[in-house]
């Protein structure tokens, strides 16, 4: 077992621990910290697998933007409400049972599926360095790229609309 494999297992264990802590912690800020550690461990897994570009963007976008926004909002909304005292809803037992069933079903289907089929003649393995990846990305998937920019514009307009409607209902 090389040190690379050990590191992948270590990051996997950290991600799993972060996920479990997310369900158990009481304060939303602790949940956010657990999620940040889970995301950083996943970025470590991607880096160990050689997919550097996804690892860097995971930290940049998820930890550096999405989780910063989440931590900011948790800071702002530190209301002492009943959800601090009673963490779990009425669905605790059915939820856990269903989760275990789902994980079991997915695991069994994965074991039964076996190795995926690699199409013959698919060409060389793709390079996940920044320049070859971005050239391939924009050569074949430029339409998806443009559509995501439309999605982002829609998200900006929607966010402004929500904030303005909230302001109108306040006054």
């Amino acid at each position: 077992m090389t040190i690379d494999q050990l590191l992948v297992y270590f990051f996997g264990a950290c991600a799993l621990l972060g996920g479990v802590l997310m369900l158990v912690a009481r304060h939303p800020m602790r949940v956010a910290l657990a999620l940040i550690s889970c995301m950083l461990s996943l970025a470590g897994i991607y880096a160990m697998l050689g997919v550097h570009v996804v690892a860097v963007f995971q930290v940049l976008i998820y930890v550096g933007a999405v989780m910063v926004f989440m931590v900011y909002v948790i800071m702002l909304l530190d209301v002492r409400d009943p959800s601090f005292v009673r963490r779990y809803s009425r669905m605790l037992l059915p939820g856990v049972v269903l989760g275990a069933l789902l994980a079991g079903a997915l695991g069994i289907s994965a074991i039964r599926l076996g190795a995926p089929v690699i199409q013959p003649g698919a060409g060389a393995a793709p390079s996940y360095l920044v320049q070859p990846f971005s050239v391939e990305f924009l050569r074949e998937y430029w339409l998806h790229f443009e559509l995501t920019s439309v999605l982002l514009v829609a998200a900006v307009v929607a966010a402004i609309a929500i904030i303005r409607s909230g302001r109108r209902s306040d006054g």
Binding site: L23, L49, F57, D81, A115, P116, T148, S165
Partner: protein, 100 residues
């Protein structure tokens, strides 16, 4: 490859944990964060499949998921803010009136 099965297993367990979290927790922000955990699990599965089949489309879809997750968070958090201002609480059990 045992590595692939382990990573896929991790992705499934994280997805199940995220789903259980959305069902089980009462705080609206914690439910949002469990949804982010589900998206992260899907990204791990996509990266694993992209490496297994030696194609690029998995990693491209990962980038699209980044964009979608950012857009979703940008809208979901203002919605939760407005909701919490209405009921002055983040407890989703209290959002039980479909009026106003």
């Amino acid at each position: 490859m045992a590595d692939t099965q382990l990573l896929l297993g991790l992705s499934f367990v994280l997805f199940a944990l995220g789903l259980v979290g959305v069902m089980v927790r009462r705080n609206a922000l914690v439910m949002l964060m469990c949804m982010e955990l589900m998206l992260n699990a899907v990204i791990l599965a996509l990266v694993t499949f992209s490496l297994e089949t030696a194609t690029l489309s998995g990693a491209v879809l990962v980038f699209l998921i980044f964009v979608v997750a950012a857009a979703e968070i940008a809208i979901a958090i203002p919605i939760v803010l407005q909701l919490s201002r209405q009921r002055s609480s983040l407890d989703v059990e209290g959002y039980d009136r479909l009026q106003g």
